[in-house]
Symmetry: D2
């Protein structure tokens, strides 16, 4: 009989909605050992968080996260707030003996990330960072194919995460555009996803050299926002994070890579793409066509070699069999359900989670090394997080 | 304050799951006037339906649909069973004064479809057929663009709904392969979707000429199935429905069209595609890339005309703003949520639903006319359902 | 040592240019047994044909084709004029003992086509119709793969040849829009290509039912034209051929097919596409991406099945090794060079040509049967040309 | 009346063939002021060059380039040999007062490139480097659209030139894999094309930081080769050039860029691709689909924005109107014909050529700066060639 795992969620905007949906759907589609109980949601605006709790079926709400993490009826603290707040919350939760599920990037600084890792280890709680693209079925399939040696030894990898929501200079300020709340811009927001996928699929980045830039340095002041869309307020404000970040890397295994993250690429809505070239094949994927994986194998008959467009919606593909029959497209939020499913199973069966806070800190270490390389104008080694 | 609409669902397999999910998600993502209450689910296998009810949060269950439709605490009967059962259930529900939401195709015969239409009209209840592709955002966008004259007068339309799940001759029998339960094969199952999209986007089919064939006439007997996958039983059974159906049409507005439905097209998993050529533009869409709409306009500057691939995930696109930020892919089930949202609003605000049973019957009339054209070897007029 | 084959070309506009280019390039890129000598070109406008001869290196010119076909120094008569003139020229050439290479469609009527076939047989000369798409490398590759049973038994085939050059109602008249010169419109011009590809790849069409339509019935009068672009004259003229043609077919081997030809599909410039579904795979090709062949095989590992996009530019692909290294795109005219190469080799080595006048007549028989089916409103059998 | 320009070509393998074809076709398809006369071809293997001359219609041949450049009947020397030989030949030709058309990269070292530039300037002859991708119609169109401000201010540009012909470790050695003949590997061969396109479309690269690697360091010895395909000899040989090169750049205009060149990307045959993101639009192109240009404009109506796939085969597109009607695909060699057309017109009308030796030297300066950055492990400024 499934055990109950009581969840306390901090944050109720974009990520709060995505995580709530994952808890709501996971035990409908997946045969779970542990059943999530949507115990409490936490946010600073009482009226708004109360409405959110009611809408999504959270049993209660808190306005102080410090209260939430102390509640005896909470087993798992889920952190879906801006990056600058992650460390305090995660450490608080760990110290209170709660498992922690934290949105990416783990923290804006490597110091904070290290402390978070130390604390969850000391506390002996489960810890997981939500790099949700790992569990898109086509990406999980790519991982399996790489592990099964279907592309051979990896030589090059290119990761580009391109968006265009800041192309309009009249798009107003929000927390993602301020250094103190977001830590960085495209670099930490999009680059972090790219790095995590690289860690997952290729391996550790050993050294990097990069550059960043803020093309649009001033924007209309922030007005109202519902977490999804925003309207401008009066006056203007300085943008204090990068629009664009790009770097080269040497992977520890000898492969070479390029990385690009930007919010200024017209027409690229959520173009989180990788292409990995091995000694006998290539794999490529892009979130904008998230159900498809492209694969080229040098082992096909010579006359019929070509990039195969695999629709990763078959029963034999990771996670997919739990949803719909073959050929039925999945969407963005399904990756969150997959993450929550694995998280709950890992807790229930006392297994390590992945990606964990070490993985999350390793991503921050790469972001950090890119910044160091920019300061020095030369290659920087990436610190290895043990 | 939202009124409650009490729902009774018949069927708990593929469609039961899809409909349950729609009721579960609709009031989380959409601001609904009316809130659905998942009152009861009905199925013949008591153990299975009880488990389904528990899993999905249906308050109760029934094993006889006749009981369900009579319950005072049910406002809306949702029919998600094979086509041969629709007429009795829908008529029973209507006579009991319930609104009716019915899966497609409305009925295996035009007679039944006509009786269903007459009964819901007599009863004065709301009636809707679930042609879910209409409410995929890219398709809804296509409709708006056609109405806004963005492709001009329509001249040609081609609809191809291709699948490949029957390519393997060892795939065992199931209800979809028997005349008495399914009415027809690819013709009614896939062709019905194509026809409804044609009605929605182009207009009435006036006359048709077609052909059907069963390429694989015998299959392993049915074994066990969970609604999604099937295993074979002992012996073989005759397939009594078509694998393939195709026809030409003259639309009432003078346009020409081709239609194809098959379950034997290797590599086409759910290739529900249309292309519509107008006097000043073209629109094309395929379910396998359901978030994208292709558009060509002769009104762009001459040197930069080309097919535009519109990612229908912006806030300005139909339904989309309720889900995630721009660029976040939606999946198969979202169309069901959109349908349920419109259905609930139509009930709450006493507006007609679309597509309704007349639309559903009109689809059956086309299927019927194709069959007549096959019998006669010549063009057949499509009966106009008033 | 290569023998010389003296060529006399009739027509010096679009096809004249394409054929001249083929004769000019063939012995540069291919190791030919026989070398073409560009002996004479023929056209009615003396000044224009003289200029053309000079430009392209034809040794001489004629203004009467009757003169050309009688010349002793001509071995091969190449007919690149409108369809209504083919029969007289081909028959004249054959009776003069010349080999004949004729543009498609062979003739506007089946009677003429039959006579042409009879005459070349009587004369014992080589005869070939230029269905140039057969020798696009990706199409030739498709043929080889079908013959090697790489898609199994063919079940469905869809052929769509879509263009858009007549979408603008102000596009003026030309010979292609008049019944008496062109025979038919999209039907014979584009449909003929589709039928020939179907014959090549699938087999004989046994019976058909179709429809045609002229959407734009009147156009500005013809002005000047250089064979490629046209300007309007004064007044208007009635269009006497179809814009659009479509039909269903039963192939002799039991497969089903759909065909569409139109000049009114905005955005489709030269969308000559086929998709062929077999019992274990699918092949698809489109001229607009002529270097690519799409292939799906059910025999790949289950988890990595997908449509392969084969770039048919490798040394192992038909004809390709004679041009450039792998990955170097070929264009429209290369197919003509391939045809001329095969034609010259067939003459030099006294082998039958393909497609020959029988194949050409068979295409006309299909066009004819479609017309009959339109007259009768019912299926028509296709006459088998022996 | 067209003047004759007498051409002497050095080299008769891959590039010799491509250039010969350009001279043969240019005055057939284009109305040229000056007519090229294929006077002499030069190569060290007398038998082979004699055969080539005969096949392609060169009036004579030479086995010493020094003889060729001195001939009075030569106006234009065309250099299609490996890069290490360019400087001596180009300087010899210039000193003899001949115009010079040189294959890319201009020279293996910046010193040589500078000397070549100085000599052609001193001699007052026309000079052009053959970066043939500039004159692919879709690329020329991109240039025109950028100049017409159709994508606004450029912010990012990514250039990837990926091939896979060295993936097989058994592929034998040839001159392209030796430092002394080729200068570098993917870096100078493919990278040079990418840089030139960047110069053409974006502007000067101001500074760079990069990395290179030879993944496969030993290969079977060279055997026989026909310039297109190669067979192995006995034993092995060390590879002395890179397989892979990649770098970041800051453009002089403030834009950021990434560059990648490799011969080890399975499935990428000739994947010379760019994507340029501006303040109001994006342009993307790839040689493997060379007839198509992708364009996104933020100035389209919001609901129908999307990447447009422009088929650059219309009469209004650069160069295209001289070939075939709209929708007829061009191939690799057409770019050479366009270059030769412009070159001949520039000579005839005494206009500067583009790209000229300064442009060619600027490309070498970038390649050089990348090498410097690799030596230093930090950013290197690119020398500006005046």
């Amino acid at each position: 009989m499934p055990a109950d795992i009581n969840v306390g969620l901090i944050g109720y905007k974009f990520m709060g909605k995505a995580h709530s949906n994952a808890y709501m759907t996971v035990d409908k589609f997946f045969d779970t050992t542990a059943k999530p109980v949507m115990k409490a949601v936490c946010g600073r605006d009482e009226k708004a968080v109360a409405a959110f709790a009611k809408r999504w079926g959270w049993e209660s709400f808190e306005i102080m996260w410090q209260e939430l993490v102390q509640r005896d009826d909470i087993d798992l603290v889920d952190i879906g707030t801006p990056g600058s707040t992650h460390a305090a919350m995660a450490i608080g939760a760990a110290q209170a003996g709660k498992h922690v599920f934290c949105e990416k990037p783990l923290a804006p600084t490597l110091d904070e990330a290290r402390r978070m890792l130390a604390e969850v280890r000391t506390a002996g709680v489960k810890h997981m960072v939500n790099f949700n693209y790992r569990r898109v079925p086509a990406v999980s399939l790519a991982k399996k194919m790489i592990e099964a040696d279907e592309i051979g030894e990896i030589r090059h990898a290119r990761f580009t995460y391109l968006q265009d929501w800041l192309v309009d200079p009249e798009f107003p300020m929000n927390w993602r555009l301020r250094q103190d709340t977001a830590g960085s811009g495209a670099h930490g927001d999009l680059g972090a996803h790219a790095i995590d996928l690289a860690h997952f699929l290729v391996g550790d980045l050993a050294s990097v050299v990069g550059q960043k830039k803020t093309f649009i340095t001033e924007r209309p002041a922030e007005g109202t926002s519902d977490g999804l869309t925003a309207t401008a307020g009066e006056g203007t404000e300085q943008v204090t994070v990068d629009d664009t970040s790009m770097w080269l890397t040497k992977f520890a295994n000898g492969a070479f890579g390029t990385f690009e993250a930007t919010r200024l690429a017209p027409g690229r809505k959520n173009f989180n793409r990788f292409e990995i070239n091995g000694s006998k094949g290539t794999l490529a994927w892009c979130f904008e066509d998230m159900n498809w994986l492209e694969y080229y194998s040098t082992e096909c008959p010579e006359h019929s070699q070509g990039f195969r467009r695999i629709m990763a919606t078959e029963g034999c593909h990771p996670y997919v069999g739990n949803w719909w029959p073959p050929g039925h497209i999945l969407g963005y939020e399904h990756g969150f359900t997959h993450a929550v499913y694995d998280l709950l199973e890992d807790i229930a069966q006392d297994r390590p989670c992945w990606p964990d806070f070490r993985d999350g800190a390793q991503v921050v270490a790469v972001l950090d090394a890119v910044d160091k390389s920019i300061d020095s104008g030369s290659w920087a080694d990436v610190e290895k997080i043990e």
